[in-house]
């Protein structure tokens, strides 16, 4: 009975979403703000990747709020899981192959993560994607050696500094008499590594913040005591 009502509900929901989708003039033309941004973004922000322009320049405050959501999730995750009791049993270390692989992967993942963060204004990628790779770099060794753990104090300091850097760059624009998070500095040559003004700096802050937050959250999850 429950399954039948659920199926009926899903059918209705599907029909409703399809009807709404039919009504909207989606997907025939690329509508509204997008084409306008595509036309002016290269001159206005100096970033070759327009997605980066949107994330950091046109809706930078939204990005700040999204970082806040991530921060809240990470903080509550840590609070919910709580501190591990010191005498709780731990999983044994993984085998030789996984341990060696983790050691080899760590520097590689760090370099790839930083590359993706620093080229966020030129190529697909940026702070969010690179940050997740950085988090993976710190999490893979933890999978190989469950006995070791990441220092949560260091993580929260790094995360706080990165968040503060994002806000301070935004406030510097206000010192200049412009709006919060207006892109600063010289735009430089389109497509060069050092270009697009303060956008790469903002993405660096985003990347370090996302990386440290996710690494902390994953470490908390991995540290959770196993129950029989």
């Amino acid at each position: 009975m429950r399954r039948f009502t659920a199926a009926l509900f899903l059918l209705g929901l599907g029909v409703m979403i399809a009807a709404i989708y039919q009504q909207m003039d989606f997907s025939h033309t690329t509508v509204n703000a997008g084409q306008l941004i595509n036309a002016v973004a290269a001159q206005e922000t100096g970033a070759a990747n327009f997605v980066t322009s949107v994330v950091l320049a046109y809706r930078g405050i939204d990005t700040l709020l999204e970082l806040t959501i991530l921060f809240t999730a990470a903080m509550i995750g840590g609070m919910v899981l709580g501190r591990r009791s010191p005498d709780a049993p731990r999983d044994p270390d993984a085998g030789f192959i996984l341990r060696t692989g983790a050691d080899l992967l760590f520097p590689l993942l760090l370099v790839v993560g930083m590359y993706i963060i620093l080229h966020g204004h030129l190529t697909p990628g940026g702070g969010f994607q690179g940050g997740v790779i950085l988090a993976a770099a710190f999490f893979v060794p933890l999978l190989a050696r469950p006995g070791s753990s990441i220092d949560q104090g260091v993580i929260s300091i790094v995360e706080g500094l990165a968040g503060a850097a994002f806000i301070i760059i935004g406030l510097l624009a206000m010192l200049d008499g412009r709006e919060f998070l207006t892109p600063l500095l010289d735009k430089g040559e389109l497509g060069a590594l050092i270009s697009a003004g303060s956008l790469p700096l903002l993405y660096l802050a985003v990347g370090i913040k996302v990386g440290s937050e996710l690494a902390g959250l994953l470490a908390h999850l991995a540290d959770a005591e196993a129950v029989d």
Partner: protein, 157 residues
């Protein structure tokens, strides 16, 4: 050519809506907490895909200028930027949900929502010092016989 656009769009839209429906179905039907969390993950994937499809055009290239070449038709960067942040937040929410599930497992020793609800009711009743309610809709502390009598009074058969 317009037929091609409609076709690829239709297939992708059906895929996106299908993912959303599978996800919601998982949330509604499953009793296991981890399956419910997987349902949330699927719902999220479908929503992101639908959001991207809102400005999808098969001919458009990525909104990136490479070596100074400006493509004739570029995809809309706004939904891409939205989905970009939504994916990362989704990972955070998923980790938070899993950590809550770990707490439930620790507290009740099970992830089956039916058992968890039963244990919750027992705990509440024991704490308040009243009898277990006869159903989840009955007010706490009212014995089953009184509920049956009240139902018979309201609906005389």
């Amino acid at each position: 050519m317009s037929m091609d656009i409609i076709d690829s769009n239709l297939i992708l839209t059906i895929a996106a809506v299908g993912l959303m429906l599978i996800g919601i179905g998982g949330i509604v039907i499953s009793n296991h907490l981890v399956r419910i969390i997987f349902g949330i993950a699927l719902l999220e994937a479908g929503t992101n895909l639908l959001l991207l499809l809102s400005t999808y055009h098969p001919e458009a290239s990525a909104p990136i200028i490479v070596d100074g070449n400006v493509p004739a038709l570029m995809a809309d960067p706004v939904p891409q930027a939205l989905v970009l942040t939504a994916i990362v937040i989704g990972v955070g929410i998923l980790a938070l949900a899993l950590s809550l599930a770990i707490r439930v497992q620790r507290a009740y020793g099970t992830l089956d929502m039916r058992e968890v609800r039963l244990k919750l009711e027992q705990e509440i009743s024991a704490e308040a010092g009243v009898e277990m309610p006869s159903s989840s809709h009955a007010p706490a502390g009212v014995p089953a016989a009184a509920v049956t009598a009240a139902v018979h009074r309201v609906t005389p058969s």
